[in-house]
């Protein structure tokens, strides 16, 4: 699966926009620059994919830090307010979570009654899956409040977008990283690039 063309276009456009505003012609330390670039890339990616939960969550997470806000604002423009507003619909998952928890307890009790816990292969397997699901929830932005199936869906979406992001950044690097030796022959490569 690959990201759609429109996704990539919007992504690139906003990334360049962000780079231009946030990074270009600014005196920043290396780390700052790197962080800004990463932020730009993430925001652009999240913005390009506006239909997914993770994108919203990502933007919200990023906007929590005040230093990112200006950059975010510049990139998102009008959408900034809309996207940084906490999504009220996320209150629903809480009820779902309670239900899930109660159901899990229920099923756990049932399983426990039937077989010894702990040493059972099935329970070990189930436990492994549960811990990994928790890890995945931490990885995917906004995944904490999701149940398993939607978590997997979001992961799917997120992986596609991440792949597109990596490819795009690769391209950028390749594009911007003109081989110095070739240009250095003239002795002005540095000037060209910088």
């Amino acid at each position: 699966m690959h990201a759609s063309n429109s996704f990539t276009e919007i992504f690139l456009k906003h990334m360049l926009l962000g780079l231009q505003n946030g990074v270009a012609s600014k005196n920043m330390s290396f780390l700052q620059r790197k962080r800004a670039i990463k932020l730009t890339a993430d925001v652009a990616m999240a913005f390009a994919k506006d239909g997914a939960k993770w994108s919203h969550a990502l933007i919200m997470n990023l906007s929590k830090k005040t230093e990112n806000r200006t950059l975010l604002r510049s990139i998102l423009g009008r959408e900034y307010e809309r996207l940084t507003k906490p999504c009220l619909s996320w209150k629903m998952p809480r009820a779902k979570k309670i239900l899930q928890r109660s159901f899990k307890m229920h099923s756990r009790i049932k399983k426990g009654a039937r077989q010894l816990r702990g040493v059972n292969a099935a329970s070990v397997r189930a436990g492994a899956a549960v811990t990994r699901t928790k890890v995945l929830k931490r990885l995917v932005p906004g995944g904490e409040h999701l149940d398993d199936s939607s978590l997997l869906e979001e992961t799917l979406d997120y992986v596609i977008s991440l792949r597109a992001q990596v490819d795009l950044m690769h391209l950028l690097v390749k594009a911007l990283d003109v081989p110095n030796p070739n240009l250095c022959n003239k002795g002005e490569s540095g000037e060209f690039l910088f």
Partner: protein, 501 residues
Amino acid sequence: MEMNANDKFGMEKRSGVHLNHHISGVSADCQFGTPSMGAVPANPAIAMSQGVSMISSSSPSVPGVDFFGPGLWSHPANPQNLGFSNAQTNTGASSSIPIGKPVAVSSRGMFLQAIPGVLPPNLSHFPADSAFIERAARFSCFNGGNFSGMMNPFGPSESLTPHPTASRGVTGTQGHKSELNMTEVPRDITVPIDHGSSSGSPLKNQRDKGSYLVGGLSNVSREANFTEVDQEKSTELANAAGNSSSSDLGSKKRKRSNQDMELDQVQRGTQLSMENTKDNAETEQNLEQNSSRPNGKQAKDSTEGSKEDYIHVRARRGQATNSHSLAERVRREKISERMKYLQDLVPGCSKVTGKAVMLDEIINYVQSLQRQVEFLSMKLATVNPRVDCNIEGLLSKDLFQFRGGSSSMIGFSPNMIHPQLHPSQQGLVQPGISGMGSPSDAVRRAMNAQLTVMSGFKEPTPQIPNVWDDELHNVMQLSYSTNPPLNTKELNGKPRDGFPI
């Protein structure tokens, strides 16, 4: 074996009694290959005597199915059925066809009467659809000749479906009956066959015990309600049954049964509608999602739900028919479907099976992608950020120049914030960027134009284009290789312009 009293289904009992005479002798013989059938044989068989006799006569060569003979017949009672279903589910019998099995057992064309709901736990080895269909076919043929008289009594029993306690047993019996009646009785006989086999689909409906039996038939006709798999199975079964029966018994009965099935479906539909309102919604979803699910999986899924719910949720035998298990099954199916997608996405995960390992791979992949992003952003940071300013200029310029044909790019270019048409900086760089779908020569032209504008850089001009050309080609190749699908839009009929972005 007058143990028919145990039968909750009055009709079945009667028929059972009728059969018992035949079965009693057979029961002992019929128990081959069914270790779990121990409990079953004890019960009087409701099934048609002929079936029993067939079973007994049929060689015990058929593994696993043999048990159907005596055990199935004698055991319409719920507890037994439950026991079986439980055993069945516990053993994880993949085959979810409670009814069809016996039919297919006799290779001689003997039709075991699928004892509804009394599938021995070792059904797992039963083949999936094809065998089931075969069995169903055989069964129907068998039924046509033998059970005409007995069919009727079973009819009313079907109406007993809403019997909560007898639900399990009913399902079994009904399925049984249905198989028998496939050709003859205008009930939902065929359905049970389907029910047994098609259990795979997530049948949610089964919260309520009612409507199970009918479900069998309804399944056949109510394709819309079942997941695709079920539908396939039901249709296959119906077809198989129809074909076989017609050849053997004549099409009349079959048609009758089909008609009856539809009637029953309607009845059942009303019964189930209340129960399955919620399930239906999910079922529909599952229909879409689970179309490709393997049969084994379906069988497994169906065991979770009630045995009797053949209409919507392929509840399996031995599973609690409460909403939780049904919902859980649906949820599990959804999750497995999504895992399949992820499997395609994450490289190198085609062989991996199991949720935990798969999750591990996914986590690793996501982490590696995130690390890659970090690394690339670091790399980009090392590149002079000022180059970015030229990117837009170049892009917009290129876009204006070359993207005339491509609507997407045209849409893109006007949006560029800074249409820097003047090479304020050394926009030498972005052959890749400017190469966004633009021909290399055009990019070069843009670059050159920018270069020429820049003062004092005449020297490198002649050489730089070469460099950029190479760079451009590299980038294009890179982008092309990385995102071939993205090139489609950008391609202006030039294969070289496969810029992914």
